[in-house]
Symmetry: none
Subunit: 409 residues, 2 copies
């Protein structure tokens, strides 16, 4: 089944607040095998609402409409409903009972404004709102189902979860399997050229590439009914076979959380020495709950002086090779590892820009130093973008090299 979402509210088109209900509706729809084709965000005007309802693609069988059901003057969704469904307002006993029950439960008395909320278009099937006064409504027109819900997220979600989802579930009985594969280190175009043949050979599978700088996600979804024999897991294994180590995780995993798992499993501790990433690597590592178990210490050493004082980088190294050099990166990694007495020392030194570039070391140059038992490694990357993106990319490459080194162990 295919659905359209129409989110109504001047605050949404004016940028005053961001539309968030659609994301929930899309997720919930997935579980019952409903795909969303369109999300239309419009203001509180009858013409925009009726225009949106009038121009939904013919393939769409379900329409979820949120917002504009409140009691205030700019909530005019009901008026649009009256016009579109040719269904005049009528006092609705069920709706009134629902509202009264809610108020009684809170020990409140009904205002006239609240009573008005019981005026419902006469063709509507009322969907109870257990936590608010704006009742939901269901309509059928031209073999298409319309579900009107309040815009307040908690009310919309409860209404969808408790009533609408089951209602739709009865109509369809489909199971969808879905997974996201996270990759990093290759641009979208390279990922695509590696798996495009494989994608073409599996028309039964829906594959999307999602560039999420500095990573590229691959989304796989499969209608399990159409495809009884091959489970999604075997498709995932095929992608694994093609991309190998470029894949760092799945689903809700992050590069940091994957590293956290390995460090915890191997009982390893880490310390960081950052120059050009300015603390971003420490920040990312400590975003993981429980990181205090393996992350001991981080140093952000911008000045040469601090590289010498804190990390024990030799003055001679800085003079001979410069602060941005493989030699300095390694001494930084070794220095922090020794100071913090950890199993691993990870360092970055480079040029985030916009200024400070040199002919042989342009903006975007970074050296990553990794110091581990029996292994001292330096990695070099070049990525020319704005300062913020460079820092993000540098931190990603450093963490990714750490991940790969841990996997090699």
């Amino acid at each position: 089944m295919r659905a359209a979402i129409i989110a109504i509210g001047n605050e949404l088109t004016s940028g005053l607040s961001t539309e968030t209900n659609s994301r929930y509706l899309i997720e919930q729809s997935k579980y019952i095998g409903v795909n969303v084709d369109l999300i239309a965000i419009i203001g509180d005007t009858i013409t925009s609402i009726t225009h949106a309802l009038d121009h939904i693609e013919s393939e769409v069988n379900l329409v979820f409409i949120t917002g504009g059901l409140g009691p205030t003057h700019d909530d005019i969704t009901k008026e649009a409903i009256v016009q579109y469904f040719d269904s005049p307002l009528k006092f609705n006993d069920d709706a009134f009972r629902q509202i009264k029950t809610l108020f009684d439960s809170k020990g409140l008395s009904l205002s006239d404004l609240n009573k008005q909320q019981a005026m419902i278009p006469n063709k509507a099937i009322v969907i109870p709102n257990l936590i608010g006064t704006a009742q939901g409504m269901k309509f059928e027109k031209d073999g298409r189902l319309f579900f009107f819900m309040p815009g307040v997220p908690v009310e919309m979600k409860k209404m969808f979860r408790d009533f609408i989802r089951h209602d739709i579930n009865k109509l369809i009985n489909q199971k969808i399997s879905f997974e996201i594969i996270h990759t990093t280190g290759l641009p979208e175009s390279e990922i695509f050229s590696k798996i495009s043949h494989w994608i073409d050979s599996h028309p039964e599978l829906t594959v999307s590439l999602l560039p999420r700088f500095p990573a590229v996600d691959i989304a796989l979804s499969l209608n399990s009914n159409d495809n009884e024999h091959t489970p999604l897991s075997s498709y995932i294994n095929e992608v694994r076979a093609i991309l190998g180590n470029v894949i760092y995780g799945f689903g809700s995993e992050t590069l940091e959380s994957v590293i956290a798992e390995i460090l915890t499993a191997q009982r390893l501790t880490i310390a960081t020495a950052e120059s050009c990433t300015g603390g971003l690597i420490a920040h990312r590592l400590t975003n993981v709950p429980g990181s205090s178990n393996y992350f001991m210490q981080g140093a952000v050493c911008y000045s040469n002086q601090s590289k010498m004082d804190i990390l024990g980088v030799k003055e001679n190294t800085l003079r001979k090779y410069g602060a941005v050099s493989p030699e300095t990166a390694l001494e930084m990694a070794n220095g922090i590892r020794k100071n913090a007495n950890t199993d691993i020392g990870l360092s970055t030194t480079g040029i985030a820009g916009p200024s400070g570039g040199l002919p042989q070391k342009p903006v975007g140059t970074v050296y990553v130093g990794l110091s581990m038992n029996q292994t001292d490694e330096v990695f070099h990357f070049l990525y020319r973008w704005d300062r913020a993106s460079n820092k993000t990319y540098f931190s990603q490459m450093a963490l990714n090299q750490l991940r790969l080194a841990l996997k090699r162990k």
Copy 2:
């Protein structure tokens, strides 16, 4: 003028990623007096794209389309363009030169996929993409302007800012004055109650409150044609008079950039000692170009041992008051300031969660230590949310206290 935004991408309708470009476009449109009537989010199918283009309300004169211009199989916006504008693909020299220049600057060689990006519908006016391979395109049809932009936010924003905005500006002689005021430290509701009377007293002014955790922006826009006598600046001064120090900046300023200006002007240097913020403060300070002039050193000290070794926090202090205490925060700030030999030491110690909370020190507790000439201050904040939000909030409060202290000097 009135605009519609069409955001194209399977990842947007499938809920894999949230559509964010429209918010930027809505805000930018305000600057040039353009109101957005509709945001349509659709998948990468030719029918949905042409359907969306075919059914835009007649009042709309501008259409901003983002996404689907990439080189991969599901990027089919160009095919839809070919159909909708009856404009076949043709190798475009300008586009190719643009792409080649970009790759040369990165020292990369063009793949066939990249070259394909130079195939452009022949009726298009190419809008250069200075940082990506997907070029923008401008079309005119039935007296309506269509601007196609890449979906990657950094590319879309740069393209809109550098080219499209000016292009539209030329069409509209209506002069709109617009400013964004950045505040932090108070929730939206408090900001609103402080300025609501003032808002009501100025119906000629459009005021929007934009909660942008951990800040609240206030957008003021004024149609200068309607209002020759009062310039926007005098309205801004009135808001200043009401909110005072809660305002930290305007327009493109960030909390970090404002602090950078003050530190540079006063020739002050700073070092940071972070526990619960895990390097985020150093990261934010070093996001500002040229920060190496005042940011000397940062320490991320998670373990008690590192707090003692690196920052010289007394074992007795940790035992007596705990790692999360005003006393420890101050010793951290003083310690890093002494080690780094800077004018300012800024520290954080707290509980980001989700675990580690105590009855008298719940998750969300943070102490900020600030050590400056003749002033040692500690600030306490409590904010209970998820780990990531807590870290963001903690860093914001620390930087804001630094800003306020610098202004007091």
